[in-house]
């Protein structure tokens, strides 16, 4: 980090206004750290009642708090992982298209178009997911279950509405495309030009040049980009709350009507009517979500910071 300002030296007269200004800047910085700590503290404080309560009094009576959380945590990770699997190849494709294929004059406009996806509010994605996408994909699900039903992922019966975890994952994939694309694009643009030109001079086709020069140089960036995308998908709420038809199960089936709910979606659906220990239980699941996303995001940031050149996420 390069600091443009010069440090004050001993001879300079220290003015009161200077000290006040410096102190308020410092306080603003500390407030941010405190806020993050406060998030953890208050979530923990409000979670404790649910952790020590009799598990039978939880919203869904269980033998332990962890049994109550398990399907939620599974659904969260499963939906986010599916979204990432779908979004990552497409994002890398788009990033390559913008950085190495599209004519330079068009590529900036294409970048704006992808950023437009990031500007659409999640609740609008939810409305679109349930009113447009779910009816659109349902016939494909029916076909998959009829013809590939022997694969456990597509076990019968098929959902009649299309409101399955696969639909949710598709919408989530669309929503995390922009962030993954943005980071990958920055990284691909920073490939050493000499490597690219050397490959082309040896007679490589464009794909061979990308394979030997661009992708290896961009690998750390791709990994951290996918982790940032994963963090987004884990915490996304409204799409899951609106599109998914949930059931408290742990199931890998992609096209059925009984889908594992996610932590965020479950909170959004049940919080308005929750009372007593139910509120604390929901906050406790929120705390778990907070910890998961914090770990994923920190790992991504550490990876990005290790190669300072790849600060595309900024």
């Amino acid at each position: 980090m390069s600091m443009p300002a010069t440090g004050s030296h001993a001879a300079a007269r220290s003015r009161p206004a200077d000290r006040v200004f410096a102190a308020s800047a410092l306080i603003a910085g500390v407030v941010i750290l405190t806020a993050l700590a406060a998030v953890a503290v208050f979530l923990i404080a409000q979670s404790i009642p649910a952790l020590i309560a009799d598990p039978a009094t939880l919203p869904t009576p269980s033998t332990s708090f962890w049994e109550y959380v398990a399907p939620l945590a599974f659904g969260t990770v499963w939906a986010a992982a599916l979204a990432l699997i779908m979004a990552l190849p497409v994002s890398i494709g788009i990033a390559l298209f913008i950085s190495h294929y599209a004519p330079r004059r068009v590529s900036q406009t294409l970048g704006y178009v992808i950023d437009l996806l990031a500007a659409v509010p999640s609740v609008v994605f939810g409305l679109w997911g349930i009113k447009v996408l779910a009816p659109f994909v349902q016939p494909f699900y029916a076909w998959l279950v009829d013809n590939l039903g022997w694969i456990p992922l597509f076990a019968a019966p098929v959902s009649g509405t299309g409101r399955t975890i696969l639909t949710v994952a598709i919408v989530l994939a669309v929503m995390i495309l922009p962030i993954i694309t943005a980071v990958c694009r920055e990284v691909f643009l920073q490939t050493p030009v000499l490597h690219e030109e050397a490959a082309l001079a040896l007679g490589a086709t464009r794909w061979e040049m990308i394979r030997v020069a661009v992708l290896p140089a961009g690998m750390p960036g791709i990994i951290s980009a996918s982790m940032l995308g994963l963090g987004r998908a884990l915490g996304e709420t409204m799409v899951v709350a609106m599109v998914l038809s949930p059931a408290l199960v742990i199931s890998f089936v992609l096209t059925g009507s009984a889908n594992p709910p996610t932590i965020a979606g479950n909170i959004a659906l049940n919080f308005p009517e929750a009372h007593g220990i139910g509120v604390n239980a929901l906050i406790a699941t929120g705390l778990i979500l907070f910890v998961i996303t914090l770990l994923v995001n920190s790992a991504a940031r550490v990876l990005i910071n290790r190669r300072k050149a790849f600060s595309g996420a900024n």
Partner: protein
């Protein structure tokens, strides 16, 4: 790379496909699929599916192009064409949902995009309402304006001062910790921010069912601060050091240098960043669902009582319809259209500010 077994061909003398072939193939495959789906739609009496035409047409084009290229140009060029077409297909795949979404929102939202929608609340509205009072989102628009405005008022001073600290004063562990955790904070799920605001105020006021607008503003502040800090920091770093040194050399104190030289120079960029941050949080639904609650009536008071917001209006109209679903859905789509227009306008304003007011420093 490919060994001698693949037969390395001299690319200067080998056959090449003429430039127009890929474009002709693309148009051809779209046309074929358009006809196929036209027959299917006519046969089953279903809707004509333009999205499927574009998608499967593109897939057909990929297959055709690679096969033809393999036959004419050999395996290395065929593989190159395969990747080129896959990469372009990825772009089309990403554009399809965007186009479909914008189209649906525009068409369905237009039905109720009328004056009543912007001048009435949902108080005492059941179903489609009456001819004169079909119900609207005025209370939600007001709530969004108040909550987002309050969040901006809190987060801009804190975010800007923190950025000044990082660029002008920060050294060592504390500055590095703030930079790292601001980055991490950009990834906090919005619903967790809402839960935090709820947990904070429920303990503070000892009210386990607390709902009020200011809590929503606090939750949005938490989401907005990292964006403001990051963009302001980038902009402050762009201010050339010579400007600061010239100011110091004239004997101007550091705080005045920052206030009168550094910030005015980077003002356009900071305003752009703040506008984009507002655009990011104005569509947040989950935190307001938790802490601001929802209501059908006007509420002007941030500190007392439930407060509606526009994204939440979309959600509640969709999730809690009466017996007659359609008017509720129409209102939801109209609110979605309003929301998208607001976000687009904010993005446009941000870009205009950046373009018009940025100092000409030859960066």
């Amino acid at each position: 790379m490919s060994g001698a077994a693949n037969g390395i061909v001299n690319s200067l003398t080998s056959a090449r496909l003429p430039k127009w072939v890929p474009w002709a193939l693309l148009a051809g495959s779209w046309l074929v699929l358009a006809i196929v789906f036209g027959i299917l739609a006519a046969g089953s009496g279903g809707d004509y599916n333009i999205v499927a035409v574009v998608f499967f047409g593109t897939v057909l084009f990929d297959v055709l192009l690679v096969t033809i290229s393999y036959l004419v140009e050999g395996s290395r060029r065929a593989r190159d064409r395969l990747v080129t077409s896959l990469v372009s297909t990825a772009f089309i795949i990403a554009i399809l949902p965007l186009v479909s979404l914008l189209f649906t929102v525009a068409v369905d939202g237009w039905k109720r995009f009328d004056i009543a929608f912007f001048t009435q609340s949902m108080r005492n509205i059941v179903g489609a309402g009456t001819e004169q009072f079909p119900g609207g989102a005025l209370h939600a628009i007001l709530g969004t304006a108040e909550i987002t405005g309050m969040a901006t008022l809190i987060s801009v001073p804190i975010g800007l001062m923190a950025a000044i600290y990082l660029v002008e004063y920060g050294r060592g562990h504390l500055a590095r910790a703030i930079t790292f955790f601001v980055d991490v904070m950009t990834g906090i799920p919005s619903i967790v921010a809402g839960l935090f605001a709820f947990a904070l105020f429920a303990l503070l006021f000892d009210d386990p069912g607390i709902r009020f607008g200011f809590g929503g503003a606090i939750a949005l502040t938490l989401l907005m601060i990292p964006t403001v800090v990051r963009s302001s920091e980038e902009m402050l770093k762009l201010v050339p050091n010579e400007l600061r040194e010239a100011s110091f050399a004239l004997g101007v104190p550091k705080w005045l240098t920052i206030l009168k030289v550094v910030i005015p120079t980077s003002m356009a960029g900071i305003t752009t960043g703040v506008t984009l941050a507002i655009a990011r949080v104005i569509g947040e639904t989950a935190p307001l669902l938790i802490i601001a609650g929802f209501t059908a009536s006007m509420n002007y008071d941030l500190f007392n009582g439930r407060m509606m917001a526009l994204p939440l209006f979309v959600y509640t109209q969709y999730a809690n319809p009466g017996t007659d679903v359609q008017p509720y859905l129409d209102r939801a789509w109209a609110a979605a259209l309003t929301l998208i227009l607001i976000v687009m306008a904010l993005n446009l304003i941000a870009r205009l500010i950046a373009r018009i007011f940025s100092p000409k420093l030859g960066r």
